[in-house]
Symmetry: C2
């Protein structure tokens, strides 16, 4: 199986490490597209998002697992990376620990879990292809 | 037909006017999702993009006209607006005039048209619904 370094070119690879807002596309059950800003974390193989099990994106992904993430380079707005793949796992996060981890990564030092922690899940996305400019 | 002011709430309406990079989602012919940063201009009714008639997004839209645009508020990154609709028109731009107009809007004062001007088109997107945070 190709690794992320086979898929993402070296000069855009660092964008997967930055705590910037990225925009996640999914497909609704009626075959229309949805795009939202998301926090994310790259674990060296997959991209991970915090989400809840009752929201629209979760329902979209049950219908069609396709996901695509667009990340702009904050230093060079003409440069971007799009990584595309699919939902490969959903990990329960009933204490909201991954939410807190992302919250910290994005500059909020609070360790208070979210009020909806019981419904929190980690969406795990594969990286199957990439485009860039 | 509802106007944009019926669809987009007053406290996010200004995001349609800002020269910020927005992220456009489309659906590929194989029912996977694509998201890319785009320049845009809102004309009071539709959102307009510069594109070319041979690129992937154009082919996607021939197959499925669904479009969705995600815009983050640069002043308040927790605030965003997603407007969703469909491709309602494609206007040839053989002199690249709309490209130049967007280039100027996004801070580049050059009036030189793009090298691919013969293939330039304006994608015109309806605003059928909105979500925000």
């Amino acid at each position: 199986m190709p690794s992320v370094d086979d898929i993402v070119s070296a000069d855009r690879r660092h964008l997967l490490e930055l705590p910037v807002y990225a925009h996640l596309g999914t497909i609704r059950p009626n075959d229309t597209v949805q795009v939202n800003p998301m926090w994310f974390e790259f674990d060296g193989e997959h991209v991970r998002f915090t989400h809840t099990s009752y929201r629209q994106k979760y329902r979209n992904l049950q219908h069609n697992p396709s996901m695509s993430l667009s990340i702009i380079d904050p230093e060079h707005p003409f440069h971007y990376l799009e990584v595309a793949g699919r939902l490969v796992d959903v990990v329960p996060d009933p204490e909201g620990a991954f939410y807190v981890r992302l919250q910290n990564r994005y500059g909020n030092p609070s360790t208070t879990p979210p009020r909806d922690k019981e419904d929190r899940v980690v969406l795990v996305m594969s990286i199957d292809r990439a485009t860039q400019q």
